[in-house]
């Protein structure tokens, strides 16, 4: 069986299983346009009414050139990045992030991830989010996956299939 066929079967199931996680594997990057709307919507959805996340004038008075994304939104985006990749059956166990260069409106943040360690059904993924001015976030996510991926015939609703990953699933590559 070629790696390409294996990959297709997994995609049919709509989720990755623990057996699919390998240390050193890179996750496809996720590009997040940092719009003013995202900054404000994220702050309000997280019940964070600190003026620096919605009022540019007051943000400037506090020494910031503009409003900036709050930490809860960054946390949510990092969590989404992991579950987007591993599928809806994946369970976040731990998310630890540190913020650096702020996410200001108009910028783009690119999230990248590398599986650092696999222990049974649990993987540790190092996540980095870079924007136009530097490193916005560094973090570590611990995620658990079902021990074996459900078969393609499963009647579980596992949602949309993850997009093929050209970096990690080269067509025809042997596994």
């Amino acid at each position: 069986m070629t790696g390409g066929e294996m990959s297709a079967a997994e995609m049919g199931a709509g989720a990755l299983g623990a057996a699919d996680m390998r240390a050193g594997e890179k996750l496809p990057p996720l590009e997040i346009p940092v719009t003013r709307t995202l900054v404000v919507a994220g702050a309000i959805a997280s019940r964070d009414y600190q003026d620096v996340h919605h009022d540019a004038e007051l943000a400037r008075q506090k020494g910031s050139p503009d409003i900036f994304m709050n930490i809860l939104t960054t946390n949510g985006l990092v969590g989404r990045y992991i579950t987007d990749h591993f599928g809806p059956a994946a369970e976040l166990r731990k998310v630890a992030i540190r913020l650096g260069a702020p996410n200001y409106p108009g910028d783009t943040m690119v999230l990248t991830g590398t599986i650092e360690e696999v222990d049974g059904d649990t993987a540790t993924v190092r996540v980095v989010g870079d924007n136009g001015i530097g490193r916005h976030v560094t973090g570590t996510v611990t995620v658990a996956l079902p021990v074996s991926a459900p078969s393609a015939g499963s009647d579980l609703d596992l949602g949309p299939a993850p997009a093929p990953d050209p970096l990690n699933d080269p067509p025809g590559a042997a596994t």
Binding site: L38, D48, G63, G79, R80, L158
Partner: protein, 302 residues
């Protein structure tokens, strides 16, 4: 150098920040949906009858929102923040968040939380300004069951730029040199002096080493009467400069003696300055060291 404030802040380590505090709302589908919409998160695990909340929403359920915290926040934590505020560390930014998820939260769950002040750093200098890192650790429960833990680090800091702004900006100083020293000496004594060429009898302003008309180097000072009219003007809206408060009018005033000078028109709104407006010289003190000639409007232009 001993950090007296730092020592006072250290004393709060280990004290409770919140005890048996309650979430303002039960975990609920609308807030989950709003969150997922903002994050662009389409994970089906967060929808439907068996939905769970996104684990990264853990802190959201503990937030006070616009109306503030309902209760459970201790005096110790408020005191700690007040101490920092009073010392000028008024701004806050979150730097670290570490969450462990023990049990999924589902719509209908009512959370309670306890929080402890884990540590307070030494005084640190960052790009944003100097301040102290405060780390709290929170346990979030549903009934007796631990749902997750949340460690949060904030920087309470004095913004760098704001400190600069607290010192009122001063007007730029005039550049005084050999050629114009007599003029500024006159201003110091509240006299507006014009140069009078002793070779060709022409008045000249601003001050120059030679006559525009005949090139003669010899002159005597003549004191202006102080009467004038607005010959032309502009209104400055942008860009702003320190110590100037736009919009304001900058006028070219023609003195009764015939020479013209640039100054501010006072005593009239910027949008009421008009060509031909009669003005009268006065001397305005801007700070301990700076006096400048300005022109007061004698009547409002119609």
């Amino acid at each position: 150098m001993t950090d007296e404030l730092g020592a006072r802040l250290k004393a709060y380590e280990g004290q409770d920040a919140a005890v048996a505090a309650e979430g303002k709302d039960p975990v609920n589908a609308p807030m989950i949906r709003h969150w997922c919409e903002a994050m662009g998160d389409t994970n089906p695990a967060y929808e439907g009858p068996d939905a769970k909340a996104p684990p990264t929403m853990l802190q959201v359920w503990t937030m006070g929102g616009l109306s503030g915290y309902a209760g459970g926040r201790t005096q110790a934590y408020d005191e700690l923040l007040a101490l920092l505020d009073e010392a000028g560390y008024t701004s806050v930014v979150a730097t670290d968040c570490e969450q462990e998820y023990v049990r999924p939260l589902r719509p209908g769950d009512e959370i309670t939380f306890d929080s402890v002040i884990e540590s307070v750093s030494e005084l640190k200098t960052t790009k944003l300004g100097t301040g102290y890192f405060v780390t709290t650790r929170m346990d979030i429960r549903v009934g007796p069951h631990l749902a997750g833990t949340h460690r949060f680090r904030i920087l309470k800091y004095a913004p760098t730029r704001r400190r600069r702004q607290q010192k009122p900006a001063l007007r730029p100083r005039p550049v005084v040199n050999r050629d114009n020293a007599g003029f500024w000496e006159g201003i110091e004594h509240h006299r507006l002096l014009i140069q009078h060429c002793t070779t060709c009898d022409t008045l000249r302003f601003p001050w120059l080493p030679g006559c525009n008309n005949c090139g003669g180097p010899d002159w005597t000072p003549v004191e202006a009467s102080g009467d004038g009219t607005v010959y032309s003007y502009v209104v400055m809206h942008h860009p702003p400069f320190p110590a100037f408060d736009p919009p304001y009018a900058v006028a070219l005033v023609e003195l009764a003696e015939g020479v013209r000078m640039i100054s501010n028109v006072v005593g009239v709104p910027y949008d009421k300055v008009r060509i031909g407006l009669p003005v009268r010289l006065e001397f305005q003190s801007y700070d301990d060291e700076l006096v400048l000639p300005v022109f007061r409007a004698l009547e409002e232009a119609g």
